[in-house]
């Protein structure tokens, strides 16, 4: 057993924290929330220069060749600083999926572009059915000559409006087993018939409705095999879920730190409110949720990183991270009092993201059902 980070991981954490503190202040976060694109090309370029987009991309494709677990360290810091932009969709949903499933040619074409910050990716998975189960995939792809023609709509697709490539999860066959007959395609942004519209969400995180109206995609853009796409999606969901947990637990830590600091400074009845046991208990509870969350998220991430069966661990981690982040930010607002409820206060930025994170890749009820199935119930 070794529950420490490596020295390289510690360095990555420290440099990420320093970089983001200067380069991604909350003023920028707010500005990007209100912006159309939702990201800063300058910041994106700098992140690429640091090698972040290529962190887990092998060196032969222009990346740094680090492991999934290293990415977790970085994502925790990004969550702590609530960095807006398409990092998650490009790297976690895009690059990892291409790494897992791409042909040699697809990898050669796309991975270097991702690593150097040239390409932004999105994963068009969920639909108005709003489920992460295969049964929710209705968007049809039909073979026609050298192409497939895609028709249908996707919803809650982060960053589709700025994506150079949208990986679309389609249904190519109807059958008794909904997991059979799923096929993935890499669709270039701007392909005729593709229409994206940003949906206003609580996290202002540029989730889109994406309409596919007779969108023609060349056969060579198929990712993985015809009708056999669901296991790829499942693998990506596992990685993405634990990656989201890392972001969330980083955000929860930041919200906790803010609350502890405020409780030490804010004076009422002639003493800092942190001297009152009621506030101390809130903060102790918050600390436990976050600290226990880190342990479980690291365990799940390690399990995924090692390629061990991880479904249950990941569901457990997400179930906990959801509740931890929501609890910490809700108590955080309570400790701050009225100021915590304002648009101007940073706690709200975290509170809104806690709920955005909760529903992403399955809320707590969904995760519990995953666990229940795993328990053999």
């Amino acid at each position: 057993m070794d529950l420490d980070f490596t020295q390289e991981q510690e360095m990555l954490r420290t440099s990420a924290r320093d970089f983001l503190t200067t380069e991604c202040p909350k003023t920028l976060v707010r500005e990007l929330e209100e912006s159309e694109k939702g990201y800063s090309p300058e910041l994106w370029k700098k992140m690429a220069e640091l090698g972040w987009m290529g962190l887990v991309i092998p060196e032969e494709y222009g990346g740094m060749g680090m492991q999934f677990f290293d990415l977790i360290v970085l994502l925790e810091e990004m969550g702590r600083n609530i960095v807006p932009g398409p990092f998650f969709s490009t790297v976690v949903l895009g690059a990892l999926l291409i790494l897992n499933a791409g042909s040699g040619e697809q990898k050669k074409e796309l991975l270097p572009k991702i690593a150097n910050g040239e390409a932004i990716l999105a994963l068009a998975l969920t639909e108005p059915t709003a489920t992460y189960e295969a049964s929710g995939i209705k968007l049809k792809a039909v073979a026609k000559g050298d192409s497939f023609v895609l028709n249908g709509s996707k919803l809650f697709v982060e960053n589709a409006h700025i994506a150079d490539y949208i990986i679309c999860v389609t249904r190519t066959k109807e059958g008794a087993n909904p997991e059979d007959g799923i096929t993935l395609f890499i669709v270039e942004g701007g392909t005729p018939g593709l229409k994206c519209e940003v949906v206003p969400t609580i996290g202002l995180d540029k989730q889109c409705e994406v309409i596919f109206d007779n969108v023609k995609v060349p056969k060579k853009n198929m990712l993985g095999k015809l009708d056999k796409g669901w296991p790829l999606v499942a693998r990506t969901l596992e990685q993405a879920t634990v990656a989201k947990c890392a972001e969330m637990i980083g955000g929860a830590q930041a919200a906790l730190d803010m609350s502890v600091n405020y409780a030490k400074e804010r004076v009422q009845y002639g003493r800092p409110i942190g001297a009152f046991q009621a506030i101390q208990f809130y903060l102790a509870d918050m600390w436990m949720k976050v600290d226990m969350g880190k342990n479980i998220v690291y365990e799940a991430a390690w399990t995924v990183s090692e390629g061990l069966p991880a479904t249950e661990k990941v569901a457990i981690a997400k179930g906990w991270a959801n509740e931890a982040y929501k609890f910490v930010t809700e108590r955080g607002v309570q400790i701050h009092g009225a100021i915590g409820t304002t648009r101007d206060h940073d706690m709200g930025l975290y509170f809104r993201r806690a709920w955005a994170g909760d529903v992403a890749f399955g809320n707590t009820e969904f995760q519990r059902e995953m666990v229940a199935r795993h328990l053999g119930l």
Partner: protein, 390 residues
């Protein structure tokens, strides 16, 4: 990071697990419960001594096993899972023994340690008093010098096993004028000494574990003082050095959860297996989350200790969360069992050998003993988060 155990550690786990599986059978538990016991079994303690697992954490020079923290963690996890009784030795191996190793004289070590490692002596702990519970350092039981001896007068309470114990390790006040932490001395007292009266306190399971203990001018030789005079508080704190992962709670809860899952699969209600009821599924899944998260926290505590760090905040958190988990999960079990949940173990109708109601009643004490949940939160807030004292 690496969450796996070494091959050697896995072998050790398999050995412990096989032994406990063989020893802690349903018959063993039935016999043991029929005597009205929950956790007290000197015969089992002796068997652990023979395996060399009783004082496994102690240094070899004192008859211990010199086990690593990781081995202790594994042992505690398996022992918790199988419900191995620890009542007959825990005070000796985990509390007074380590205190003697750390602060005892050579003579005290020679005299007191070997009987503990052999599993021959039962100790009780004379710490709490009627007016010194969470605020332990306010204790008032007096020890007054009288020639080469001390005379002890006062009352202790919640003294587990006082009626079975051969010896008592006792905190007394030797300097009433000093600040409260600095006027306390630590004594090792033979329970056969004249002037000791033990009165039973029966808990709500109708089991006799607790006692009140009255000391009326009990004579104790000076050589039975552990550590220096007025330093007793600090002597008592050295026991914080032992394995404090708190793994036993999640381990015990994991076993209970497995049984509940089985129960839910096998039991029909309104014609449907309980396991198909969405509310039951949801609750059991939530339990699985809590158990695993608590297990990981306990691993983290052990890991810190393994590295020589003091888990000053993590260990209290683990105790707090683990004991709360046990209370919550046993209550959940009662809920899922419905009418059957209320049955006592002697009932022929009782599922899971009538353990559930019993465990739930027992769990109430767990969030109080060894530092209440509230005290644990105070520690986290003050030491961990650096919040100001109220």
């Amino acid at each position: 990071m690496d969450f796996s155990f070494t091959a050697e550690e896995e072998r050790f786990r398999a050995e412990v697990s096989a032994f406990l599986k063989k020893e802690i059978t349903d018959e063993f538990l039935r016999d043991f419960e029929a005597r009205g016991e929950f956790d007290f079994c000197p015969e089992f303690t002796k068997k652990l001594a023979q395996k060399g697992w009783l004082a496994m954490a102690w240094p070899k020079e004192y008859g211990g096993g010199g086990a690593t923290i990781m081995q202790q963690l594994i042992f505690s996890e398996e022992a918790g899972y199988f419900g191995a009784p620890t009542g007959a030795h825990r005070q000796g191996t985990n509390l007074v023994g380590p205190a003697i190793i750390a602060r005892g004289t050579e003579e005290q070590k020679k005299r007191f340690l070997p009987p503990i490692t052999r599993g021959e002596v039962v100790w009780c702990q004379g710490f709490s008093e009627p007016n010194a519970g969470s605020d332990l350092a306010s204790l008032q039981c007096r020890a007054v010098e009288d020639g080469d001896d001390y005379l002890i007068t006062g009352q202790k309470v919640w003294t587990t096993n006082a009626h079975r114990a051969h010896w008592c390790h006792l905190l007394t006040r030797t300097d009433p004028e000093a600040p409260k932490h600095r006027g306390i001395s630590y004594f090792l007292i033979d329970m056969k000494s004249p002037g000791i009266e033990v009165r039973p306190l029966i808990n709500m399971l109708a089991s006799h574990d607790f006692n009140e203990v009255f000391f009326d001018g009990v004579r104790v030789p000076r050589e039975n003082m552990l550590g220096e005079k007025n330093q007793g508080w600090y002597v008592s704190q050295v026991t914080l050095m032992g394995e404090r992962s708190g793994i036993a709670f999640p381990a015990m809860c994991r076993r209970l959860l497995e049984r509940l899952i089985q129960f839910a699969k096998e039991t029909k209600r309104n014609g449907e297996p309980l396991a198909h009821d969405p509310i039951v599924r949801r609750k059991l899944a939530d339990a699985a989350v809590q158990v695993e998260v608590n297990r990981m926290l306990a691993y983290r505590v052990a890991w810190m200790q393994h590295k020589g760090l003091l888990p000053m905040v993590e260990a209290p958190a683990s105790k707090l969360m683990g004991s709360e988990l046990m209370k919550w999960l046993t209550a959940l079990a009662m809920e899922i069992m419905g009418l059957y949940g209320q049955l006592q173990q002697v009932s022929k109708f009782a599922p899971l050998r009538g353990q559930i109601a019993r465990m739930h009643m027992y769990s109430l004490g767990m969030t109080i003993a060894m530092g209440t949940s509230e005290i644990m939160k105070n520690i986290i807030a003050l030491r961990g988060l650096g919040l100001p004292r109220g």
